[in-house]
Subunit: 350 residues, 2 copies
Amino acid sequence: MAKQQQEEGPAPKLTINDIARMAGVSKKTVSRVINRSPLLNRQTRAKVEAIIRETGYVPNPQARALALGRNFLIGLVYDNPNLQTILSMQRGVLEALHGTEFELVIRPVDRGSPMVMDDIRRFVTRQRLFGVVIVPPLSENDALARMLDEEGCRYVRIGSATWDDADHMVASNDRDAVADATRYLIAQGHRRIGLIAGPHGFRSAQERRDGFELALADAGIALPRSLVADRHYTFESGLAECESLLDLSPRPTAIFAANDEMAAGVLYAARLRGIAVPEQLSIVGFDDTPITTRVWPPLTTVRWPTVAMRRAAGLKLIGAATGEDAEVGAPSMFSSMLIRRGSVAPPAAG
Amino acid sequence: MAKQQQEEGPAPKLTINDIARMAGVSKKTVSRVINRSPLLNRQTRAKVEAIIRETGYVPNPQARALALGRNFLIGLVYDNPNLQTILSMQRGVLEALHGTEFELVIRPVDRGSPMVMDDIRRFVTRQRLFGVVIVPPLSENDALARMLDEEGCRYVRIGSATWDDADHMVASNDRDAVADATRYLIAQGHRRIGLIAGPHGFRSAQERRDGFELALADAGIALPRSLVADRHYTFESGLAECESLLDLSPRPTAIFAANDEMAAGVLYAARLRGIAVPEQLSIVGFDDTPITTRVWPPLTTVRWPTVAMRRAAGLKLIGAATGEDAEVGAPSMFSSMLIRRGSVAPPAAG
DNA sequence: TTGTAAGCGTTATCAT
DNA sequence: ATGATAACGCTTACAA
């Protein structure tokens, strides 16, 4: 039994033929073992598996990719205005892929470009990707989903609400979460609450805005148009927009920003004007990114379970491949929850 | 001339055979064109190239990978305590790869695990990676570099100083940059300056610490041992360590933190104690990550040209492949520079 | 249940 | 300078 292949050296690459010879079977039989073919004699399988284990043989992914017409790569396609969330997306998907034969290929794209669609198409077809995870705002593009279907590329979309079937979608309930957060503000006694919404055309922005308006309506609070501003999910835009909100008279006593970056901008704007937070202005953000605990005061925010969502997306994608039934049922809906920190207080009297 | 292949549809995949037939040459000749073989008749090449352009033919990467024994994938291996910098690393490498046939595969690892080395070995050999970019602190591991060499995997290391030859290394001059920053603090009048250094065993931490001590020595300022603390490059550790520095009597009038996360922790600690920044305490960080402009006051810091360094690393890696001589000479040394913002002022009188 | 032969799309060898 | 033919390592018919 040749077995110098244990644990070291430049590895004189074993092939399926070597294993077949050692096991005294045909390469096809080895192939069947690798691919978990059901029609195989128990003993034969056991014998081959033993050899594989002893030798540490690993099938060549390139050869499999060529023969199968598909690679063992998962693509992560994104064009996210909020750099902070990119990391947690990656973390989640990587967690799902950990220990499998899949690797993660990342691909930032420019959704503004007229070529996005072709870019992504080339990406998936050229690399013959096993599947892709698509995150907001790109995940809101139905044409993209259709295109991936046409190309025979599996996909899972991440979103702030559900707009595709369970096999293709992992979502959070942003609307409810924001409604809760807004009710919390109202319960603290706030009545003039400003909203710095996300970019027009973003589903997440719309969901969060809807939740906000819903809670206000429920409480019978009218929302003057001047108290709402559409921005770009960036620190700078939060800062800029907060300026105009603070110019209003009477001034809002609280501001809900549709993400933490903008909330940090609001806090900064308040500081620039010498407005004390939370005494004179309460702030609530969304995402629970690290920045919330690095600024002063730490920001009350809505925790968005990004990592868990991405992991679910990854599992959903490869679930079919691994055949592990346990993983096929990766959950499709996740709940965000309010995290109370230091940026909210009852409004100043008067 | 068949040319329905222009711009749409599920793409009935062209192969090298199709191109060969259309051009009236053998597939080997087409292959030569693809691989820029020098021994080719100008006209033959032109003819084949024309067909390729017309049809939009793209060679199948999987087949090439199998035949060549190497993939067109670049790996990014990291185990970075500072999440913030991961993004800029990725951005830089992605920029270098943009428009090429290479894709980026990311691979976080746990350098604490006894299996790291084998993990990475499996990663590069299984995927037959074209090459990998290794970032600190993993890039300081010489055994890792040796192993990659053995496996025939190209690599480029990123570091805070140069410790490998120019082909394998892209570095910054952290020591000089920190010395400059420290001199700036001294020029402002500070004499009791605390240092919150990076983790023991990190080359970047050592370089930055050396720069700090160098500047102090040059100015004839003795550095009490109590003014130096080793920490983990995290916000929490910066916060914790700052507490003990602020307990000293007399208190330091300035603190240099070896990265921005820790500097943010210092700022937070000061706020907790009601110590005004920069009036009563000056702070300087390192990296110039986004957080520096989101806290109040914005942090003076040393800009670390991460994106440019990573791009250079990527170019260096694929330079040999693209054959573009212009890119082979990607620079190997980058300078960090001081960015003055609001967290430094002369020490309070007395 | 297992094996044989023929690909998958490219590159390398060795002629010519 | 170009082409026929055999790899590359695996999978899918199709037999046996």
